[in-house]
Structures are given as structure tokens and as C-alpha cells.
Symmetry: C2
Subunit: 265 residues, 2 copies
């Protein structure tokens, strides 16, 4: 088995080394990830400038590693488009420093690497540790990642669907188990900070507290990890709101004449 | 009514001028968009560097316009976080040069601007013209955008749900009508191109033909626009694959002991 490993914290982050080491027992492991931290980069495809892809030393023996100049999803794309010659069976991303739950997913570079994998028809799993501290311990999350791959769940994922895994910040023996759950509700606590540069011009930071969210609503990723469980959420790229689609279909919109403005407005 | 207008083609693109002009009859219009083209930028939140936001001249009279140094979603975020003082009733994004259908959505800066709006609890509509040519004609799409806003459909969108609209590249009188449809299936035709720089080092481009896709599957955005209809697709940020969630729940995963590797593997 040949596993491709990427992330968004950058190739020197401890989480990707822990994940690559956890994948080694399954066979061949290739790491390809951004040279620098690309957190909250989203699902960017770099089309208007070239990329660099350089072999780099990696702290896990037996792993080939490449650093890319651009995004996590670019890293996965170039690997699957032929930069990595050996066929790839599975793409794993992470272990992210910090959770990727609720509405984090479209922002997340770690999850976007998995989006890119499923777009190119490869099974993919994104792993995140619910701990954003500099000295987070990835060992329990790595053991969980190894267990989830060993279980082979990724083999049954339908098209355009990845598995999103969040591991609570607990020693392995204190993790209570697994919950298969839906995305919960995030609350972002961003604020806009205005500063003045040395030349008198304003500049702006998106700052504020870390995101919070609803940990009380049962059956969600936020609830599961808050209560000491690993959350497993199958995520698909079909974002159609089917209930709303049927509601809109029932309103006669499809019989309107293009460009005709209703008379009341 | 106060409408915020953004895009990913950049504030100087003809599509955003056409959209802002189409929104003026509804009241106040503020434009905030990236200074430069940010196509395929995804849903990036710029947290690790500051942003510039500068007032700029805009070709539509009566519109206040600001150019930002970063992404479409940053542009919407800073506006909603207080840079724009007057309360905003609706966020519209586009008119994008080229379609945003099927699996384009997480890549799309235009759609990501709408993601950001719904995350901050504002109704949002993304508009795209199925024409990627330099001299595309936005007039029919602008008339459609005006009609859709006049219909007030955005008022009934549920939380975290936006409306994604694609307009075929036809004169208004040749557009056949509206179809409320789901996301279709894209096929990406990317290739990895390797070149050698003047100093003998390789660099890489993600290149290839424009994406294609399945235009024959009835009831999708690709099918609707291919057949001369405007596609309307409600898109939500809950990406949970519920069918797969129930299937995984039925497999006893929730009774596994964390870290225990199945004996067969």
C-alpha cells in the first residue's frame, strides 16, 4: 500500500511527522506538503504562477518527502497528476494543529487537501487534533490515525466523500471511544483590528479569540470531541441543500420569464 | 436596502461593475473586492498578515468601492466585521467570468465570498456567467441578477445556505428560463507541466484544458446551463454525507477501543 501524506501546517510541523510515522506499517509513505504554514488557506488551486517542488529531509526514516511552494491542495494535485510516480492508494492529511469541525472545513487547508484527493478519485482522510498549542502531543492522534486506516473504512467511502477525523486532546487511554457524527455549529469570534503604519496609512488585521461553537448539541463533531470522543464525519463535495431545492422548485420560479422584474418591487 | 458586492476576478473586472450597476435600483451599494484577480483562491482567511483596504474609483456612479489586498472572503469578512459602517442586508458576489458549478464551488473565490457572508449570518447570492472569454458580455447575467434579487428569494434561505446562480452565455431573449437544480459532476482536465528555469532548476505549472463535466445528467447545474437555462442551486456549508454517516454508524465503530488495531491487518 502506498500512502500520500500532506497537511497545512507545513512540512516541518510535528503533526505531519507523527502521521507519516503512523502510516509506515502499511507500506510505502510519500510526504508532500507546503514548505510553510498554510493554515486557513482554503481550497486554492494555483494556476497563475508556477510551483516549486523540492525534495527535503524528513524526520521519519523510510519516508520520501517533498516541500511545495504553494498550498496543501496544490501539493496533493501535483502528486496525483504525476509528480509522484508510484500509484497512490490513500491520501491522508494532518495531523492538524487544532480542530477542523463545523464551518471550519472550507477554510481548512488540511481538509482541502482531502477535497483535492477525492476530486482526483482517491480515498482521503483528514486528521486534526483539538489542541492548538505549540507543544501539543500528537501521539494519541497518531495511534487513532493508524487504527482508522487499519480498519479500512476509507475503502467504502462513496465518490467525492472523505472522512474527517478530530481527536480530543487527551492521552490515548483517556479517549472514550468513537462517535460517527455530523458537522456542528461553529461560532467565529473574529474582530477587525485597525492599526496605523509608520507612514500614517491604516492597515487591518483579522484578529480576535479562537473560534468556539455549540458543544451541547448531541451528534455533532463539536459535541463528540468536547465529551472525550474521536469524531468521524463523512464529508462530501455535494453541498446542495436538497430541502431548500425542493422548496424553491415549488414556487413557480421555473416558469418565470428571464429578466422580468415583478411589478411590486 | 444596502447591498455589498464582491468578486474574485478583482475590482477592475467588468463583471463586478455590471453586478453593482444591476443592484443600484434596490438602494445603497458598496463594493469591496480584491485589488487583483483571485480566481480559484478558495475560502482563505488571512490571519497571519495584515490587509490593506483602500477606497478606489469605480465605473458605476453612486457606488462606494474599496479594494483589498487579500481574498474575496477576506473582503466580505472585513466589511461585515465593521469596516463598512451601514448595516448590510444582502451580499452578492460576481458576476464571475466563467461558470462555478459542480465541484468548482470550494475552489471558487466568488462562491467563497458567499460562504463568508452566510457564516456571518447575511444572505448571499453568487452569480457566474458561463463564459470565460476576455470579452464576455455580462448584460444578460446582470438583468438576471437584478431579477433574482427583486424576487426576494434570498430572504428565505436557511442558515448557512447561499444561492448559487450560473447564467448561460446567451443574449437575454435566448435564455430559456430558470431551473432549480443540484450540483453536477465536473471533470477537471489539469495536467502537470514541468519546465526548467534559467538556472537549471525544475519548476511546475498546473495547466491543461478548461474543466468539462457531465451535461447529460438531468437536474444539475451543468445540464441546465448547457441547455440554455439559468441554474439556481441552494448551497449549504453542512457537507456531512448523511447516508454514509448512517452506514458507518451501523458498523460497530462506536464500540471500538481507541488505539486497538484489528488483528487481521
Amino acid at each position: 500500500m502506498h500512502i500520500l501524506v500532506s497537511n497545512d501546517d507545513g512540512i516541518n510541523a510535528p503533526g505531519i511527522a507523527a502521521l507519516a510515522a503512523a502510516m509506515l506499517p502499511f507500506g510505502q509513505v510519500t510526504v508532500i506538503a507546503p514548505k510553510e504554514n498554510r493554515s486557513a488557506i482554503g481550497h486554492r488551486k494555483t494556476m497563475h504562477k508556477p510551483l516549486r517542488i523540492d525534495p527535503v529531509p524528513f524526520p521519519v526514516e523510510g519516508v520520501r518527502a517533498y516541500a511545495t511552494s504553494e498550498t496543501p491542495s496544490d501539493s496533493v494535485a501535483v502528486a496525483l497528476l504525476g509528480f509522484v510516480k508510484d500509484p497512490i492508494d490513500l491520501v491522508v492529511s494532518g495531523i492538524n494543529r487544532g480542530a477542523n469541525m463545523g464551518q471550519d472545513l472550507t477554510y481548512s487547508g488540511t481538509v482541502s487537501a482531502a477535497f483535492e484527493a477525492v476530486i482526483w478519485h482517491k480515498p482521503a482522510i483528514a486528521f486534526s487534533l483539538v489542541d492548538h498549542s505549540e507543544n501539543a502531543d500528537y501521539s494519541a492522534a497518531a495511534a487513532i490515525a493508524r487504527q482508522i486506516v487499519a480498519l479500512g473504512l476509507y475503502r467504502d467511502l462513496p465518490p467525492l466523500t472523505l472522512l474527517n477525523v478530530n481527536v480530543p486532546a487527551l492521552p490515548l487511554e483517556q479517549i472514550k471511544g468513537f462517535k460517527v457524527v455530523r458537522q456542528g455549529l461553529r461560532t467565529y469570534n473574529d474582530t477587525l483590528i485597525t492599526r496605523i503604519d509608520p507612514y500614517g496609512r491604516p492597515y487591518y488585521w483579522i484578529g480576535g479569540e479562537a473560534p468556539s461553537g455549540d458543544t451541547t448539541e448531541e451528534g455533532t463533531d463539536l459535541w463528540a470531541t468536547h465529551n472525550g470522543y474521536v469524531s468521524l464525519t463523512p464529508i462530501h463535495l455535494d453541498m446542495t441543500n436538497y430541502a431548500m431545492m425542493r422548496q424553491l422548485q415549488g414556487r413557480g420560479i421555473e416558469s418565470l420569464k428571464p429578466g422580468e422584474i415583478p411589478s411590486q418591487t
